[in-house]
């Protein structure tokens, strides 16, 4: 799922899969800066089931009902790799993190072509999620279909409670 997600952006090279650990639906990257954390990761990577390990190192995201929900850490990496993006207005940002698709009028800048997957950025260049351009942006019509947005953190929390 992680590979498929990165492939959509032609960004498979961003992650060294030898350093990725899958735990249930989640994907975790071995920390590279801290020696103690790295050794700990290596030790417990080989005993996930018996140790009850649920999270370790850097979260790259997880599968949620067949949709990949990337972490902000991974989305920032993708953004920095200069993949196709759309940049949206403040109002568009509010609607998008509420799980809405994007209207043409909310798109401030776009490097994406029709039917292409793109990362969604706000005016501060921060990643908010990703989706697909379904038609040429114009006016109030929906032109960008949301696949995942960071409002999911809140929706997940509400479901848990």
């Amino acid at each position: 799922m992680l590979k498929k997600f990165l492939k959509q952006f032609k960004a498979e090279g961003l992650v060294n899969f030898d350093n990725v650990l899958k735990i249930q639906d989640g994907f975790f990257l071995k920390p590279k800066d801290d020696d103690r954390a790295r050794k700990f990761f290596i030790k417990f990577a080989s005993q996930v089931k018996q140790s009850g390990l649920k999270f370790i190192g850097i979260s790259l995201g997880n599968n949620e009902r067949n949709i990949f929900a990337p972490s902000v850490f991974l989305m920032e990496k993708i953004r920095d790799a200069k993949v196709p993006f759309i940049k949206i207005s403040k109002k568009g940002e509010w609607l998008f993190v509420c799980g809405r698709d994007i209207q043409g009028s909310a798109i401030y800048k776009s490097t994406v072509e029709k039917h292409q997957i793109a990362i969604v950025l706000n005016l501060k260049n921060e990643p908010l999620g990703y989706g697909k351009l379904i038609r040429k942006p114009s006016g109030l019509g929906i032109c960008f279909k949301r696949i995942y947005d960071i409002g999911d953190y809140l929706r997940r929390e509400r479901k848990m409670n």
């Binding site: 801290d34 700990f40 649920k54 190192g57 902000v72 850490f73 993190v97 997940r156 929390e157």
Partner: protein, 291 residues
């Protein structure tokens, strides 16, 4: 029962008063510079007041939910009550240390520990409820925590294959308090308080016997006013294990006389937050080492 519980507080010199808890945020410096976030939130018409004695805490006032704004979703801050933030500051975890957070979900304190450690070293987090771990996982990811390992474990049944911890936080499951639950007096009785005290003792026994050495700093916290889960529990630990209490310089000194029972004078080194006195929720903090 409601009257009995209220009367207990009167016997300890305090009243039951309504307390309106302010919304408090902790700036997550793992993701953003404090000055940058404050400028952004102020621009969004959120009133902020820096809280004393805490490194990154602000009282926040807004006419919308702070838990739904992009700055929250991007992990730039965590909504975390003042007393709860103090517990981690008292633990004072440092970069490159090896820290255990025993009852970690939903992760407010775990993310704060990682922040204070600047994502260096290792935080081992335990919780024994699978469902609560989802929330913990989500918060760790949102806050960009990179030095934590989370295990589904009950500390009272866990073996220590991890090694020696520098610091341990036990934010124990407790009876809670009336400030955060309108029906607290109706729902709480002495049996429940005693059951919690029994479980807390078992947790501490496991921590002391299996996870700590003489250099390990242990911080024990609850968010309840009940002496059975606080001072009386610490007295049992003094009686049964060789522990050395360290001074906690916040709140009020803990009680050394509980309903006529004289306790070890060193228990006054622990701290209590009374809602009527400190305008926070109820909180108890003990810090100690095993001799």
């Amino acid at each position: 029962m409601e009257k009995d519980l209220k009367k207990r507080y009167e016997l300890l010199g305090h009243k039951v008063v309504p307390v309106q808890l302010p919304v408090v945020i902790r700036v997550n410096t793992l993701n953003i510079k404090e000055t940058d976030l404050i400028a952004r939130l102020k621009k969004a018409k959120i009133q902020l007041t820096k809280l004393p004695h805490l490194s990154y805490a602000y009282k926040a006032k807004a006419n919308f939910s702070l838990g739904a704004i992009p700055e929250y979703l991007l992990g730039y801050f965590y909504l975390q009550e003042r007393a709860s933030q103090i517990a981690v500051e008292i633990l004072n975890p440092k970069s490159n240390e090896f820290v255990l957070d025993c009852c970690a979900a939903p992760g407010g304190k775990t993310t704060q520990i990682s922040q204070m450690m600047k994502n260096q070293g290792v935080v081992v987090a335990f919780d024994n409820k699978s469902r609560r771990l989802l929330s913990l996982r989500s918060n760790l990811e949102r806050c960009n925590v990179q030095n934590a390992a989370v295990f589904l474990r009950d500390i009272t049944h866990a073996s220590n294959e991890f090694g020696e911890f520098d610091k341990i936080l036990v934010d124990a499951p407790c009876s809670g308090n009336y400030v955060v639950d309108d029906e607290w007096f109706e729902k709480t009785d002495m049996d429940g308080i005693k059951k919690n005290a029994y479980r807390q003792y078992n947790i501490m026994q496991s921590v002391i016997e299996s996870f700590a050495n003489k250099n390990t700093v242990i911080v024990y916290t609850t968010c309840t006013l009940e002496p059975e889960e606080n001072e009386l529990l610490i007295q049992k630990l003094i009686d049964d294990f060789d522990i050395k209490l360290m001074k906690v310089d916040v709140g009020s000194p803990a009680l050394t006389n509980v309903f006529g029972e004289e306790l070890d004078k060193n228990i006054a080194k622990c701290a209590r937050f009374w809602p009527d006195e400190h305008k926070t929720q109820a909180f108890f903090i003990a810090k100690f080492k095993v001799k």
